[in-house]
């Protein structure tokens, strides 16, 4: 899976031109595009230090991250680029036998914002922090809006096998359905366990879940 260099370069220069317009005043950059990219990575590697579970290897981008860094939020991604990402990411999803777990456990995962930070110890719970970006149950007033509201997610869609598979898959790898999504690839990047993702699927789909009241 590789992207033609030309296209990436072209797209990123368009993106840069757009940003230069927004920033307005910066008329000229002193570094060429390639040089700027090289220096950025080099500077980051010399400016961060590994701590706890966060090693410097985290600064290395995979292909999706590298490509998606070229497109700024709200900016359209060319169809051939997004299709390529979505196809490859979809093919890599691993589904468990049981897609729906326990919604109560899912609610805890949705409320938990810790895990994977350099400040988190080995026993710090790992959560999905869904409420940071999504509305889910009505009882929780403190929710964000980076992602769409998921209130009544299951009530509107039912709990068919296909919906369960889509829901689990979206949690597992958001980029399989929406290239360069802001949402972490919870399964692909091994953030959550299979059981946690099944519990979140239940939180979204189970008719008894507060999300569907």
């Amino acid at each position: 899976m590789s992207f033609p260099k030309m296209r990436v370069a072209l797209v990123s220069s368009i993106a840069l031109a757009l940003l230069a317009t927004i920033a307005g005043c910066v008329t000229s950059y002193s570094l060429s595009e390639g040089e700027a990219e090289r220096r950025t990575v080099e500077m980051m590697k010399s400016s961060f230090r590994a701590q706890g579970q966060a090693s410097l290897a985290r600064l290395d981008q995979d292909e999706v991250q590298a490509v998606c860094s070229q497109y700024h939020p709200g900016q359209a991604i060319p169809r051939e680029v997004s299709e390529k990402i979505e196809k490859a990411q979809l093919a890599a999803i691993k589904y468990p036998a049981k897609l729906m777990g326990n919604w109560q456990a899912g609610e805890r995962v949705a409320q938990t914002g810790t895990g994977f930070q350099f400040s988190d110890g080995p026993t710090t719970p790992v959560g999905a922090n869904c409420y940071a970006c999504h509305q889910l149950s009505r009882q929780e007033l403190s929710y964000g809006n980076i992602g769409p509201s998921l209130y009544q997610f299951g009530k509107l869609r039912g709990t068919s096998e296909a919906i369960q598979k889509y829901t689990y898959g979206k949690i597992y790898n958001s980029n399989a359905f929406s290239a360069c999504s802001s949402m972490p690839r919870f399964g692909h990047s091994k953030i959550l366990t299979e059981a946690q993702m099944a519990d979140l699927t239940a939180l979204l789909l189970d008719p008894g879940s507060p999300v569907n009241q």
Partner: protein, 156 residues
Amino acid sequence: MNYQRRQVLKSGGGMTVLAVALAAGLIRPQDALAADWNGAAFATKTVADTVKAMGGGASADSKDIQITAPDIAENGMVVPISVTSNLAKTQSISILVEKNPNTLSASFDIPEGTDPFVQTRVKMGQSSNVYAVVKADGKYYSAVKEIKVTLGGCGG
């Protein structure tokens, strides 16, 4: 015991209060250095007990006490609260948070010539009813307001 404690507290503080509070195991010695600090009241865990420890019986609801505070606090570490009493001869204003580990947050004596008004900020461990208890002309009155505390930030 209860009667005796109230008598002691009514007497206005001093070593007796300290001795009783220590005997009850409510506060530790270093918490009670100040002679005019009602340790027993600050150790209470219910609104009724706080009012008792301050020397009152039951407090009556009053529309003449106004609590100004947000319905929702963005952070429980700093919850702004002001209390205005329109009761004649207001002598003291106290702020109580029902669900904090200890109910009483702060108590203010209002001398003649000072407005029956105070504004301060308190910590709230969780969403709770907040009471303003006012002593006026020797009697106790109260008002209540619910304040929700939200969980903020990125969660980590």
